[in-house]
Symmetry: C2
Subunit: 462 residues, 2 copies
Amino acid sequence: MTPHAADLDAWLDETREERLADYLEFLCIPSISALPSHADECRRAAEFLADRMRAAGLEHVEVAETEGNPVVYGDWLHAHDAPTILVYGHYDVQPVDPLDLWVKAPFDPRVEDGRVYARGAADDKSNVHAQVQAARAWLANDGRLPVNLKFVFEGEEESGSEHLDRWLADNRRRLAADLAVVSDTGFFEGNVPAITVGLRGIMYAQVDVSGPAIDLHSGGYGGTVRNPATVLCEIVAGLHDADGRVDVPGFYDDVRPLSERDRAEFARLPFDERAYRESLGVDTLWGEAGYTTLERRGGRPTLEVNGIWGGFQGEGAKTIIPAHAHAKISCRLVRDQDPERIFGLVRDRILALAPAGVRVDVTYIHGGSPSLTPVDHPATKAAARSIREVFGVDPVYIREGGSVPVTASFESILGLPVVLLGFTPPDDHAHAPNESMRLDNLELGTRTMTRYWEALAETLLR
Amino acid sequence: MTPHAADLDAWLDETREERLADYLEFLCIPSISALPSHADECRRAAEFLADRMRAAGLEHVEVAETEGNPVVYGDWLHAHDAPTILVYGHYDVQPVDPLDLWVKAPFDPRVEDGRVYARGAADDKSNVHAQVQAARAWLANDGRLPVNLKFVFEGEEESGSEHLDRWLADNRRRLAADLAVVSDTGFFEGNVPAITVGLRGIMYAQVDVSGPAIDLHSGGYGGTVRNPATVLCEIVAGLHDADGRVDVPGFYDDVRPLSERDRAEFARLPFDERAYRESLGVDTLWGEAGYTTLERRGGRPTLEVNGIWGGFQGEGAKTIIPAHAHAKISCRLVRDQDPERIFGLVRDRILALAPAGVRVDVTYIHGGSPSLTPVDHPATKAAARSIREVFGVDPVYIREGGSVPVTASFESILGLPVVLLGFTPPDDHAHAPNESMRLDNLELGTRTMTRYWEALAETLLR
């Protein structure tokens, strides 16, 4: 450790309590981007973040309008002859239902046993907070940063990043950089430090099955008309074959088979299948035949039902044939699969499965492209060195199942290489009730970022 | 028409407005028996009804306790040497969701174009009101009834009549009679007067599929665990074969094939398939191969999904694998099928369809036996004569798809023959939003009952 790093660490230790309080205040804002009713709360989170960025010493801080939730931008550009790094995170969070399963209200953070429980505690307010505080540490101690930084924090990641691409394209010149650091990922099973080198893409759609004009009495009409809920089930059942493969013609056409090297890399990752199973509370795992769990998660496309509903859901009995039934369906995509093309294939398959007697509509909700970044890029290697310095271990390189569609946008719109570096624990329950963040991950993650700025300055010589 | 009948008709015409106001007041009480939160409202409906029965001149009126909602009892037993008729109806109603599809609030009756729109307007408050008012007409005009009447109005028909059988058994002696008139049915397509001679039974169950302990991120876990919503769909899809038959081993074992005569009777009913289709808003009908629509509805057992739910149902996108998914499933049963035996068969089939990686529970909610009554019973013939006198046409004899489980109870517990006579129109939207009753059906139905009491006195000589 350099003397300089020791100074930054000491400053971080001294300000720990104050930074924790600030992070908890951030978590109190219910910035749920999927709910139009929460647009004001999203804006409040953006203003909060902009305020903290200004306080950290960042410049040109702006709550930039889009047609949806604003993008928060700020930079520090005085590191002459040093590389410029674009940092991405998001201040919006997932919806909170089912609310009754939360131990405490989702926007009333609970600190317990070294963790903070709240919606957004991990995904992604932890990483956003760590990035801003790492910059603050440098500016507070040295009055400078070793690299030029441009922060871009969006507010629609959890609802499809609908307006970000347009904003990126409109601001292409201002966003010029040497590298993008996307900070919306986490560590591997067992809380092993990790650098994500692959992300799946996503295609999210809704299926609506409509039958009779109104709910019908299941006595008077049962057995004489198509039941939309039954039809919906038959459609969903037709989307996988008996081997767990997605049964949609053309679905795998663009998927590159996993190479021997790919499979060897998956096999090298530490993975305790039994512990994984037990942590999920299931008696057996399941997936596409012929692949391991990690391959299924990181290297193969999938199709999942995210929600389904129709007819009577209350206590007791109501004897109706529902007039309509619905499902939310999404696919995770791997490299070379295109979300819109996949939507077309899934829609066609669903329509082919639809019988006469009902109307079936399939609507595209959002999509994001998959991405893969090289393990041997100098910026990836620098991230690995910074992690080793702080955590004392080498990171693993993982291909994650989730999607950060902006990664593909940075590559395609801004032409930037991307490093995916975030610090959330694997058991964070992101998107579920009682989401949590480990406070040591937050602290050591912040510390890692202070090192990483310096490592990038040394690596990416201009 | 006898001079006496003319007096009763005149009295009914004079009191029409007042009786309508009373019926509307009855409809304002939200007596939803499926919701435990509405127990007080059910009791309020029972007290209202008891009050009106006393006002009509009935005796021994009592709001009789059960372990659930009370039974309302009242009688008039001074017709010496005349038969005794047990009259059944129910004052409870179905739930009202989806509430947003109602033109006006379901318990704020709307009178328009000769109809009353409200939950319970048809099923079954119309028939209950008609029965009480028909007795009142006699007692107000003659100070007597031509038969002895025992009214039994229950408050749990829409939630399975759970406590009625016990109450009937406990009151067997008090309920001794010559005939039961069950008034919870209606007219045939085209509003053709009808006497129901067959009713299907019912078996209602809930299916619960549980997977991971919590909702999981569909990116991080998609493709690695069984998705409970997908499994539920696969189970439901496995409950019918390609010919629309219920694919449950043993399901049809006790079903008697329709005889040539049965099929001829179904074929004789007036039925405009195109008008039926159009009234339902579907482009084609569907059902078990080899049967007509009326046979499917009245003469064959079915299995329907009444509701389904699991995971995210909101606007936009939430990327989860739901921890659990649920369905309400019910079967309509025909003569000789036993609800509990059918439950066992359906449960076994569902459990056989359940894969490893999820837990599946199947719970019996309620059941009721099917029934068939003879067309040539003297009480059926007397009902036909009364209908002809009032409506000017012969009734049709129908086997209905719905269930009135109490019919089987009257037969088995009290040993009574049963006539099913009610006056709701076929397009009443019972159980659906904007349920309605035709006011002329209500008036002429009330008039028919005044005739029927007299016809029974002449027919069922003691």
